[in-house]
């Protein structure tokens, strides 16, 4: 083709194809937009009802000594503390266990062992939480908690916390293992080449290098523990409500379990004004807590990525 002798039409391509391309683009845009819209819709509905709740309820009731929604006592501190107690117990189990499993899988296990154990771990993460909840109530509570604490009640937050811990451990292990494995092999070789033992290499080189990923694993685990519902609803007791307590051996109420209690059965929802709406308020609170944690963990994970 001679140079310069070309007009715009020659480079435009077929109009049909261009139309088809833009149609496909639209379809994908719509799918992406839909998921965003649904999330936004959830937040708005939570927000709307939460505002209704806040305007109807006597605000001093938010600081009542207990969480008894049907009596009009909405002591937020009670369920937030309950959530914290259960999460704390859960993380005391899941953080060391998950990290140890991750270190074993990433640093010590032979490839063949890793190839079998890692998927099993991930299957474990998929055990329905209702099963764990039942297990916590019927086994952990009598066999573990009541054995060590004689005056512990059958429903107690410690048993629920242990259950949550078991539930969260595989998740923590899996994310932490990814973080450890993303530490470049060159760093391990450098350390070993200096005459460092395996233990030294793991503790002083690999773990510090993976620290942000490990923190992210903990945060993700925590956010999962906070959001966990079935285990606490079954094993922690305090179905109808709970007095403020920090004692893990006694029954307590978490935010999620409180919501379940409110939502299950129409007779439970009825009560004083705002009982039903309080569910949305708690939901909104929960949403913001887990959102904050997820953003935090996202930050930490990104820091790992930038480094290598």
């Amino acid at each position: 083709m001679t140079s310069g002798a070309i007009d715009i039409g020659a480079l435009q391509g077929s109009p049909q194809r261009r139309r088809r391309e833009s149609l496909i683009l639209r379809a994908f845009q719509l799918a992406a937009a839909l998921s965003v819209l649904i999330s936004a819709g959830i937040v708005f509905s939570l927000l709307g009802e939460a505002i209704v709740f806040l305007s109807n309820v006597d605000l001093s009731q938010l600081f009542a000594g207990g969480w008894y929604p049907r009596r009009g006592e909405f002591g937020i501190a009670t369920i937030v503390t309950g959530t914290m107690v259960v999460t704390l117990v859960g993380m005391v189990v899941a953080a060391p266990l998950g990290l140890a499993a991750a270190v074993y899988l990433s640093e010590y296990a032979k490839p063949r062992v890793r190839r079998t154990v890692k998927p099993i771990l991930e299957i474990l993460a998929g055990i329905p939480s209702v099963v764990i909840g039942f297990f916590a109530l019927t086994w952990i509570s009598p066999e573990v908690i009541q054995r060590f604490f004689n005056d512990a009640s059958a429903f107690n937050m410690a048993a629920a916390g242990l259950g949550v811990g078991i539930l969260v451990t595989p998740l923590v292990a899996s994310v932490a293992e990814d973080a450890l494995r993303s530490v470049p092999q060159a760093l391990r070789e450098a350390s070993v080449g200096m005459g460092a033992r395996k233990r030294t290499t793991t503790l002083q080189i690999v773990l510090p290098a993976a620290v942000s990923g490990i923190v992210a694993a903990f945060i993700i685990g925590m956010s999962r523990a906070i959001g966990e519902t079935m285990v606490v609803a079954i094993a922690a007791g305090g179905t109808g409500g709970s007095a403020f307590t920090v004692d893990p051996t006694g029954p307590g109420q978490t935010m999620t379990a409180a919501m379940t209690a409110l939502a299950v059965g129409s007779d439970q929802v009825r009560g004083t004004d705002g009982t039903f709406q309080s569910l949305f308020f708690v939901g909104l609170l929960l949403f913001f807590i887990t959102l904050t944690l997820n953003i935090l963990s996202e930050r930490f994970v990104r820091r790992v990525r930038q480094k290598y």
Binding site: L187, E189, A190, S191, G193, M194, G195, A196, R197, P208
Partner: protein
């Protein structure tokens, strides 16, 4: 420990394998051409396997003290595998197996009683890509001495090590900064300083300049000349000019097709004074390689 010369190495040791005849040839060769130098490594009929695959076959050679020994050859000829046998870094590789002996001042590194960690404290390594720890420059240097239980003045040791690696002037005001803020060439010299800080006997360098630009390469090469008065250096390099520039001894490896395998096995073709290898090689394959007709 004073190294023995090549002639005394035949003295049998407890628990060692029977010595194959190939060793005799090498010794005769070294007695003929390389008189009375202290031997650091005496490699005896060394073969390395990865699973069922033989990566290096029947290598025997002596490496001398306070000299730079270069291992050259085309890709896949087993140079890196060889050098990683010298401080048991191949232990890290799953299913790697070693046959034969690597006598280090007369002691077989693959003796069951030998602790690889002790080996690596005496025989340091600098890798292909600079791999400083994600710690400060200072902490990179002190890592090795600390784990080895060094009790002396750490600041002094850091300064000395960085001086030896010709890096002190560039970093003395920023020792607390991350080692990853340094340029590639600086990072590699930091890795050399880090290696020197544990006061090793031998420094192994596995293509230390392959990730560096020519100026940084020249600095590392100068550095090697400074270091060889105190250390014995073994370097793997792709770059024949580099081997010719820096080394006293050169071993040429090549990859041979094995009859029963579809993969290729590394063999030692010729080991001699560098000058000899580059000007008057005795094997045709060496000549083809160094004159650029092959590889």
């Amino acid at each position: 420990m004073k190294a023995m010369d090549a002639g005394t190495l035949t003295e049998p040791r407890e628990g060692l394998h029977a010595r194959p005849h190939i060793e005799v040839e090498v010794q005769q060769q070294s007695e003929r051409q390389l008189p009375s130098r202290d031997v650091v490594f005496s490699i005896r009929d060394l073969s390395v396997y990865y699973g069922g695959f033989k990566a290096v076959r029947n290598v025997s050679l002596d490496i001398f003290q306070n000299q730079i020994t270069a291992l050259i050859g085309p890709s896949g000829c087993g140079k890196t595998t060889m050098i990683r046998c010298l401080n048991r870094m191949n232990d890290l590789i799953e299913n790697a197996r070693v046959d034969g002996e690597v006598l280090y001042h007369g002691v077989n590194l693959y003796d069951k009683r030998v602790d690889a960690v002790e080996v690596r404290r005496r025989i340091g390594m600098v890798f292909q890509r600079p791999n400083p720890f994600p710690k400060s420059i200072y902490d990179n240097i002190t890592f090795g001495p600390k784990i080895a239980g060094f009790k002396g003045n750490m600041d002094e040791l850091v300064e000395q090590s960085l001086q030896k690696a010709a890096l002190w002037d560039e970093v003395k005001d920023r020792l607390k900064e991350s080692a990853w803020s340094l340029s590639g060439g600086q990072q590699q010299r930091l890795c050399i300083a880090r290696c020197v800080a544990v006061q090793p006997d031998v420094i192994l360098m596995d293509e230390p300049c392959s990730a560096l630009d020519p100026i940084a390469t020249a600095r590392v090469e100068d550095l090697m000349q400074d270091l060889k008065s105190e250390y014995s250096i073994v370097i793997v390099t792709h770059n024949m000019q580099q081997a010719a520039r820096v080394s006293e001894m050169t071993a040429f490896f090549t990859a041979e097709v094995q009859e029963d395998q579809d993969r290729r096995t590394g063999v030692l073709v010729e080991y001699d004074k560098t000058e000899q290898i580059f000007t008057n090689p005795s094997d045709e394959r060496t000549e083809n390689y160094v004159t650029g007709r092959f590889g």
